[in-house]
Amino acid sequence: MKFTIYQESRIGQRKNNQDRLAYSYSRDALLMVVADGMGGHLHGEVAAHICVQFVTEAFQRDARPMLRDPSLFLSRVLTNAHNAILDYAFDKNLDEAPRTTVVACIVQDGFAYWAHAGDSRLYVVRQGQIAMHTRDHSRVQLMMDQGLLNAEEAAHHPGRNRVYSCLGGNHAPQVEFSKRLPLRDGDVLALCTDGVWGPLGDAALTAALSAPDIMQAVPALLDRAEGIAGPSCDNLSMIAMRWHDDATQPHADAISTRTMALDNFTTQLESFDTSRTPASRYDISDDDIEKAIAEINAAIHKFSK
């Protein structure tokens, strides 16, 4: 396999990053997964974390170096990830299991297979156009389907974050599976959370994902989404993968898995490097430093009397 891949997650203006994402590949199979823990719910980021970790570990167990049946793998692994979240809630005596959206994609034998629950999306961009994308499991999407809302109204609808399917929670997820899609040279698959697609329109997404270099286009796209969202910016995360025919002379950053050992995996689990999170969250001002020192010295003197 030959492809170029880029992933990034940003905290936006929120206190926590509840998005989790990872990709992993063996010689013959590639997994990409994105999960968005649900903030209003207890332990949302835990749900997202369990989901991504569970799916990644299952992939590494089964893709040696190929999955027997990618669709079956996706259906089994997402059900089990859902159960792993419920187990966690049970262990911790939580009243309600935490919840997360998920979108996961497998590429193998030149075909892509994906599945999702909730409103994290997968886009297929082909020849400068969105060839397909997942349909959100949200109330607004249902209303749009029934002609009750148009896209513009949906984008501002107060209930736009309400999803009716997800992993965890009190209801069994309704996971939706794609047909298998034969990939063509230059196709881009992009998985992202609503923090990315929410502020941007299709045009901006298409333009960025059609650019020759996704390694530059994706961070620029995230900048743009952050800029538009402003102070209410949600966590935003994206994995984008451009597929290359084995014959083409691809981009310098492309990965070729041809020479990988059969039992080898390369995995990238987003670990939220501080360098990209806004300084304000971690930074303490000179004033804070002085205060902390004064407080410590006051305690020292109080106790050393």
Binding site: S275, A292, N297
Partner: protein, 316 residues
């Protein structure tokens, strides 16, 4: 980012009201110096200097921190303050005493009472395989007085291990390095994160951080006791959870130590937090218990240390 070593401040350097004499240690997060205050009394000064984020070059005083690392550097400083805060609240003969906290050279410093002696780690290395039962019972019972005080203030140490237990020359132990308090804040700070030492950390420190409690420090005490007896930490607890290869000491070391002591250690090292002693006090009770030979550890150890220990250490 490549691991780099930071240059210590030079001997004779005037740091605030203190004069640096020499470097005592270099950790991943800080440098500790021996220095003298204005009256000439010795102090130990801990300088916040995480080597993954800040670099002090030869001949310079201010460490360089890149813009990229500045937020993380400042954040780590917050955690260094946590150590100061924890220690400042405690006033106990078995917990190192903080004397001052100040800012200089673009970083921060914690001044502690200088203690003469060596770490339990050094002691174990020197006396491999022949650390006596009496020594173990006495030192740990005393050290646990300090830990009890820590827990009484609703703090956890979370980095108890032989190199953070200091033995004064008179044989009394002092708990050092409350740096692990920083961890609690740090769950999503990969650059600064793994500060604990694997073989001594409890399983819940790896996995279920919301299950942390006094029993977590007790696991580390058990691992330190284990090191006294075998010379090494037990298998890392995150691996034990998957495949436990730890053999009860009762089966391997019964020739040299009483069954009661070995059982106590095995008790502390239970993987299930609820199966361990739940409080320092219950562990102390077990450590001072008269063992089969009738060799009792003085109950007075709960209070002040007698001259016994002094002569005892003097002999070794």
């Amino acid at each position: 980012m490549p691991a780099q070593t930071n240059c210590p401040l030079p001997a004779g350097f005037q740091l605030d009201q203190y004069r640096i004499e020499r470097q005592l240690s270099l950790g991943g997060f800080s440098i500790v110096y021996l220095a003298h205050d204005r009256e000439g009394s010795p102090v130990a000064i801990k300088e916040y200097l995480p080597n993954s984020l800040a670099l002090r070059k030869e001949g310079e005083f201010e460490p360089q921190v890149s813009d990229e690392h500045m937020p993380a550097f400042r954040y780590g400083m917050k955690c260094f303050f946590e150590e100061g805060r924890s220690l400042a609240k405690l006033m106990h003969p078995n917990v190192v005493q903080v004397l001052n906290f100040f800012r200089a050279n673009g970083t921060v410093y914690m001044v502690m009472k200088f203690e003469r002696g060596r770490t339990l780690h050094d002691y174990i290395q020197k006396h491999r395989g022949e650390v006596s039962e009496r020594f173990i019972r006495i030192v740990f019972t005393r050290m646990l007085n300090g830990l009890r005080e820590v827990h009484a203030h609703k703090l956890l140490h979370l980095d108890i291990k032989p190199s953070n237990i200091y033995l004064r020359n008179d044989g009394t132990p002092v708990l050092l390095d409350f740096g692990a308090a920083r961890q609690t804040l740090m769950s999503d700070q990969p650059i600064l994160k793994p500060m604990y030492t694997p073989g001594f950390a409890s399983p819940e420190q790896f996995e279920h951080r919301d299950a942390l409690g006094p029993w977590s420090d007790i696991y580390s005490v058990g691992a330190s006791l284990h090191a006294c007896i075998t010379g090494n930490a037990p298998q890392r607890s995150d691996e034990r959870v998957k495949d436990d290869t730890v053999v009860p000491l009762r089966r391997t070391h019964a020739a040299h130590y009483s069954a009661q002591l070995l059982d106590t250690i095995d008790w502390c090292l239970k993987l299930d937090p609820l199966a361990r002693p739940q409080s320092v006090y219950s562990l102390q009770k077990s450590l001072i218990r008269r063992d089969e030979d009738g060799d009792a550890v003085h109950a007075g150890l709960f209070g002040d240390l007698g001259a016994r220990l002094k002569s005892f250490i003097g002999r070794t």
